[in-house]
């Protein structure tokens, strides 16, 4: 009897510990040994050095969990929509732009169960209902040092002032409008971005349009880099990673950091994935300190784990956006405004892109 009692207690204890183990809070960057053996996950992102860096950041997760990781891309919301609608979702974790997880939250992207992720080290205000950040970066004003010499542009107001600062401008024309840039343009037209209305989008776009027919709307990050390296544009709106690479390659450009636009990529789980927990495990590992260090070292994008201490050289750290000084200079777009007005803004922006 005593033996039996002891036995039961033992089993109970064992159950209790495993139960506690299963319910214990996840720790960013950790995954149980062999826990995903035999499973396959498809991770989707934007390719290039960025996705290579992400794959490197996930290597430890792959080795430890035993999962087979497939990389696919580039992320296209239309493709994801087609998958969700047909009920055949093959993308398990998707890296997206700033806004889509907010615009399509619950429709294309799952609402996240935050008990399955350790989000404690993510900078404040970046965890969304359907997303956690994948990395931080900036949209920064780069100017040609040789053109402007002693009187360089200092802000977006100077960027939009072609009388005081003549020269060709280059703007992100890769697809969606950048909310932050339109807010800065609206400010130039005399408005208050915090009180922006739908009708004000036109005013902001008019400011961009007034830059004139010479304005270059670059289609890809690579193109923006090429514009800097060949000196085609005198002032360029650039992603920090591309700006860093261009300067490294000898482009005679310098950043004007005042009001650089804070942007990020998002990690999401599509609606209808086959193994939600495996997707959560991947994201949780990705958020870890070590993973984020690897990512930053390989891509020069800013890690989103506040404890990460990437070892980077001066040329890279000059373009990281997480120093206290940069954090003070950054400009955050009015998310609450852009999410519901995404389609309207996109349509007006597309009309500008089409030369109307």
């Amino acid at each position: 009897m005593r033996l039996k009692l002891g036995h039961t207690a033992c089993v109970a204890l064992l159950l209790a510990t495993t139960g506690a183990f299963a319910q214990s809070k996840p720790v960013a960057g950790e995954v149980a040994e062999g826990s995903l053996k035999g499973k396959t996950l498809t991770f989707v992102s934007y390719g290039g050095i960025y996705q290579d860096g992400q794959a490197a950041a996930l290597k430890e997760f792959v080795d430890k969990s035993g999962v087979k990781l497939l990389n696919d891309g580039p992320t296209e919301i239309a493709k994801l929509q087609a998958q969700v609608e047909s009920g055949n979702v093959t993308w398990d974790v998707v890296d997206t732009d700033d806004l889509p997880p907010y615009v399509y939250c619950g429709k294309l992207f799952q609402k996240l169960d935050l008990t399955k992720l350790d989000v404690s080290k993510i900078p404040e205000g970046q965890v969304g209902e359907c997303s956690v950040p994948a990395m931080n970066y900036g949209v920064v004003l780069m100017y040609n040092k040789e053109k402007y010499k002693d009187n360089p542009p200092k802000s977006w107001a100077d960027f939009f002032d072609t009388a005081k600062f003549p020269g060709v401008r280059g703007i992100d024309g890769s697809g969606s409008p950048t909310g932050g840039l339109l807010e800065q343009a609206f400010k130039v037209s005399g408005g208050d971005p915090k009180a922006m209305t739908v009708a004000d989008i036109d005013k902001a776009i008019d400011v961009v349009r007034k830059l004139g027919p010479d304005t270059i709307f670059w289609k890809t990050g690579a193109e923006s880099q090429q514009l800097a390296e060949s000196g085609e544009a005198d002032m360029l709106m650039m992603w920090t990673g591309r700006a860093m690479t261009a300067v490294k390659n000898g482009a005679k450009y310098a950043p004007a950091w005042q009001d650089w636009l804070v942007v990020m990529d998002q990690m999401t789980i599509p609606v209808g994935v086959k193994d939600t927990d495996a997707s959560y495990a991947l994201i949780n590992a990705y958020l870890g300190k070590h993973s984020q260090e690897v990512l930053a070292e390989q891509t020069s994008y800013t890690p989103i784990n506040s404890e990460a201490q990437p070892k980077v050289d001066a040329s890279v750290s000059a373009f990281l956006t997480n120093s206290p000084e940069r954090q003070k200079q950054g400009y955050k777009q009015n998310f609450k405004f852009w999410v519901p007005n995404f389609a309207v803004a996109q349509e007006k922006w597309s009309a500008l892109m089409a030369g109307n």
Partner: protein, 289 residues
């Protein structure tokens, strides 16, 4: 035993023979239905059914000025590209018929080798040539001229597209010109026609079918161009395919994207239907002469 049967086919067997050509084309027909017919039908349906059943997407298309501007521009650019291709390809194709086999081979290779290189690569080479700090502008500047803006203009797009599409003009032209008996020119001249007159009354009409065939292929391919205008053009040379891309990939408006595609398709058909009688009458005229 059966091998000894008479080889004259019976009536019923002859009826069976008539179906053979169709049976042989079955794989092609199936492929056409599967990869062209079905998706096209889906596009038409989605343009009428999303977000609800009705003509809303078409109402939107024709009610939005930017769409009409871009549609018109798409046709104008394609017409320019076709014109440039005809002007460049005609003498080239003629030269191909006039030279010996070895030179002809070299000329054919000059057409085909770029044809085998991906359009993206060729377009990127044009970026290097046309950009403000590119080869053409550096040459102009070193010769003491002002630079010209070529990239991000309609001119740049037309140049790039014409180069990509040139083989589609040269090859049909050449195949028609090859069949023209050059002795006809000599006959015309022996009857007193000057070389130019002989060319315009004899050679040109005979070569027109090749011009039409090439022009139609080039024009239709140009209407759907995406990569070249995207890389070489600016906002003022955006073509319809870019707008379709925005609607479908950025805004998830499959219905609107579909409507744009259908409008482009129907407009193209209408233009071809209008052009067809002209071409046919010219053919007949050429035949009569």
């Amino acid at each position: 035993m059966s091998a000894l049967e008479p080889t004259t086919p019976s009536a019923s067997k002859r009826a069976g023979w008539a179906w053979r050509p169709f049976a042989l084309t079955a794989p092609a027909l199936l492929l056409l239905v599967a990869v062209l017919g079905y998706p096209l039908l889906t596009i038409v349906l989605r343009s009428l059914s999303e977000p609800q059943w009705g003509a809303q997407n078409y109402v939107w298309f024709f009610g939005t000025p930017v769409n009409l501007t871009v549609l018109q521009r798409t046709f104008v650019i394609s017409a320019w590209v076709t014109a440039v291709c005809v002007i460049c390809a005609y003498p080239y194709a003629y030269l191909m018929t006039a030279v010996g086999p070895r030179v002809r081979l070299a000329l054919v290779l000059c057409v085909l080798i770029p044809f085998w290189v991906s359009g993206v690569v060729r377009t990127l080479s044009w970026v290097i040539l046309l950009q403000d700090s590119g080869v053409i502008n550096s040459l102009l500047r070193s010769a003491g001229f002002d630079g010209v803006r070529l990239i991000r203009t309609q001119t740049g797009v037309v140049i790039g597209m014409a180069q990509v599409l040139l083989p589609f003009m040269i090859l049909p032209l050449y195949s028609v010109m090859r069949g023209i008996d050059l002795r006809l020119m000599r006959a015309a001249q022996s009857l007193g026609a000057r070389p130019l007159r002989a060319f315009f009354t004899v050679y040109l009409p005979l070569s027109l079918p090749g011009v039409y065939a090439g022009a139609i292929i080039v024009f239709i391919l140009a209407l759907g161009f995406y990569i070249t205008p995207a890389l070489l053009g600016g906002p003022r040379s955006t073509m319809l395919s870019t707008l379709v891309q925005t609607q479908v990939l950025s805004l998830l408006q499959w219905g609107r994207g579909g409507a744009m595609g259908v409008v482009l398709l129907v407009t193209t058909f209408v233009l071809l239907a209008l052009a067809a009688p002209v071409m046919r009458s010219r053919h007949r005229e050429a035949g009569r002469r």
